[in-house]
Each structure stands twice: as structure tokens, then as C-alpha cells.
Symmetry: C2
Subunit: 178 residues, 2 copies
């Protein structure tokens, strides 16, 4: 069995980008085909469950990238303040300096929301725990740490929405400095 012409990770990256630009409903198979450079039938060869499976695979893939770029720095061994800065840098890269929408936002809408809510909930939970643990390590008590962690995630999501709506990414950059 010969290797695929395009590595699956690359395909998933491009699918993710297309979903992030258009949302679940707006990302038609034709667009996904164009974004990946694969014909429609090839996409269905990769993802036999169709668009829904493509989205699920993207969710897993993006979750993995998030773990590497954001969660891992938080779970590292340096000083808390330093790890927090590493997380900010990771978020900045992950969201392309605020240009990319978050899948947690897009996949929460409409029918997609019903399909993927458990995964979205899990992703938020993991992020909140990682950040909360770090804040506890930095000296906050359990309740404060959880609240602050949740606030940070809320601010991040809000900044992405406002940045997209205004076309002005300065909000995203400012919020990243919390």
C-alpha cells in the first residue's frame, strides 16, 4: 500500500483552516476539496463518514495541536510566570495572532453543536484544569484558581469574537496580556 500523496496531517490542517474560515455549515465539500487539493471522492476515501467525520477528525487534530502548543507549556517544569508566558506565545501562534476563529466557537453553532458538544466541553475542561493547576501552584486557592482560569478562557474566546467582528486584532493582543 503506497503512501498517500499528501500526508494526512497536512490534509487535516487544511480542512481545519477551511472550517475555521467558513464554519461547519459554510464549509461545503467543494470548498474542502479545493482547500485540500484533493478531489471530492478522495476526501470520501479518507473520511468514509463524510463531512461529519471530517469535522470530527479536525476536532481531534486541532485538539492535539492545542495540547502541544498551549497545554504542554502550562504543564511544563519552569516557573509558573514563565510557563504562563509560554502559554500566551502558544495561543498567539495557535490562533494566528487572532486571525483564526476558534473551533469551539464555530462547532458550537446549530446542528454541529449538537453533534460535537461533548468534545467541546471536554476541550474546555482540559484547558481550564491545566490553567487552574498552574494558578494553584502559583499560590491561589482552589476556588480562585478555577475562577481565574475560566475567566481567562472566556476572555480569550470573547477576544477572538470581537476581533473577527471588528477586523481589528489589537483586542486579541491586548487580552493575551492578562
Amino acid at each position: 500500500m503506497p503512501a498517500a500523496i499528501v500526508p494526512k496531517d497536512e490534509v487535516l490542517d487544511r480542512l481545519a483552516q477551511a472550517f475555521r474560515e467558513n464554519g461547519y455549515d459554510g464549509a461545503s465539500i467543494a470548498r474542502l476539496s479545493e482547500a485540500t487539493g484533493l478531489g471530492k471522492a478522495s476526501l470520501y476515501h479518507y473520511f468514509k463518514g463524510g463531512k461529519q467525520e471530517m469535522a470530527a477528525a479536525v476536532l481531534g487534530h486541532v485538539g492535539g495541536r492545542f495540547s502541544n502548543m498551549v497545554i504542554a507549556p502550562l504543564r511544563g517544569t519552569g516557573q509558573p510566570a514563565r510557563r504562563l508566558r509560554a502559554m500566551s506565545a502558544g495561543l498567539n501562534d495557535f490562533y494566528s495572532q487572532g486571525r483564526s476563529s476558534c473551533i469551539l466557537d464555530l462547532f458550537g453553532i446549530g446542528q454541529a453543536g449538537e453533534l460535537f458538544r461533548p468534545q467541546l466541553k471536554g476541550a474546555i475542561h482540559r484547558f481550564k484544569n491545566a490553567l487552574g493547576d498552574l494558578l494553584r501552584e502559583a499560590g491561589l486557592d482552589q476556588t480562585d484558581a478555577e475562577t481565574k482560569a475560566e475567566d481567562a478562557i472566556v476572555a480569550l474566546q470573547g477576544a477572538l469574537v470581537v476581533s473577527r467582528a471588528t477586523g481589528d486584532r489589537s483586542v486579541f493582543h491586548r487580552v493575551l496580556e492578562e
Copy 2:
């Protein structure tokens, strides 16, 4: 010319709800027809510009409701702290206790974003100014007031996204107490 069977405000309310539940792309004409109780052709009689005009009309209608329920209390005459609480109550109603997504989020996505960005930007600007003016009146300097106002809008949008993604509206309620 006899009156319409359903008042236009009622039609707009129902269209708004359908758009908020499904997003711009997810809200098909068939769904909008069902949501309003009007046949497709009747919808096109009201909105000759089709779906795009329906969305634009919803944007204007919802903007008006937001002015009444949220901006007006901020611009009132009582004490700043009291007006702030009135705003919170208005937001709680406007977003149905966190159950409704914000049009600023949904209409920022994909093609809809390109169509409506100016209106979205304007709406955020008006909210930020009203809130900033109140904060200045409460004693903050210009820069702080603007920053805090923006932070509040960011937190509100983020809370709505996180509430929708997790299905847990407690985040929305907590953030409303800032």
C-alpha cells in the same frame, strides 16, 4: 391595503431566533419559513433582497432591541452603579439568560462576516462608548474607561461562546456579575 397577518416585528423576532439558533449559513429559507409560519414566497414578498436582506433586517431589528434593553439603561439618569445593574438585567433578558447566541458572533463568520462587518463594528462601537461614558462618569479616566468597557464586552461574548459550547449557562451568569 390590509394589514399583514403577522406584524413585521413579530416576523423579525422569529427570524432573529432562527438565525441565532442556526447561524447565517445554517438558517435555510425552509427553516426561516417554518420559524415565521410564512411560506417561502411570503418571506420574499417581505424581503425582496432574499436571505441577505432578511439578515440585514434582523441585524437592524436586534440592534434596536439592544438599544432599548441595554444601551438605554446605561444612558439613563440614575446613579452609575444602579445603571450598571440595569444593564446587566437587560443583558440577561436580551440573551435569554445565556441561552441565545449573539448575532455579533454568528454574523461574523464566513461570507456573512464580509457582508455585515461594518454593522457589527458599529454595534460594538456604540456599546463600548455607552459603557465607557458611564465608567468615566463613575470616576475612571478616559483610557481606563475604554479598556474596561472593551473588557466587559469581550467577557460577555466569551461567556456566551463558552456557555453554548458546554451547555452550562452558569458561566454566563457569573460573568454578568463583573
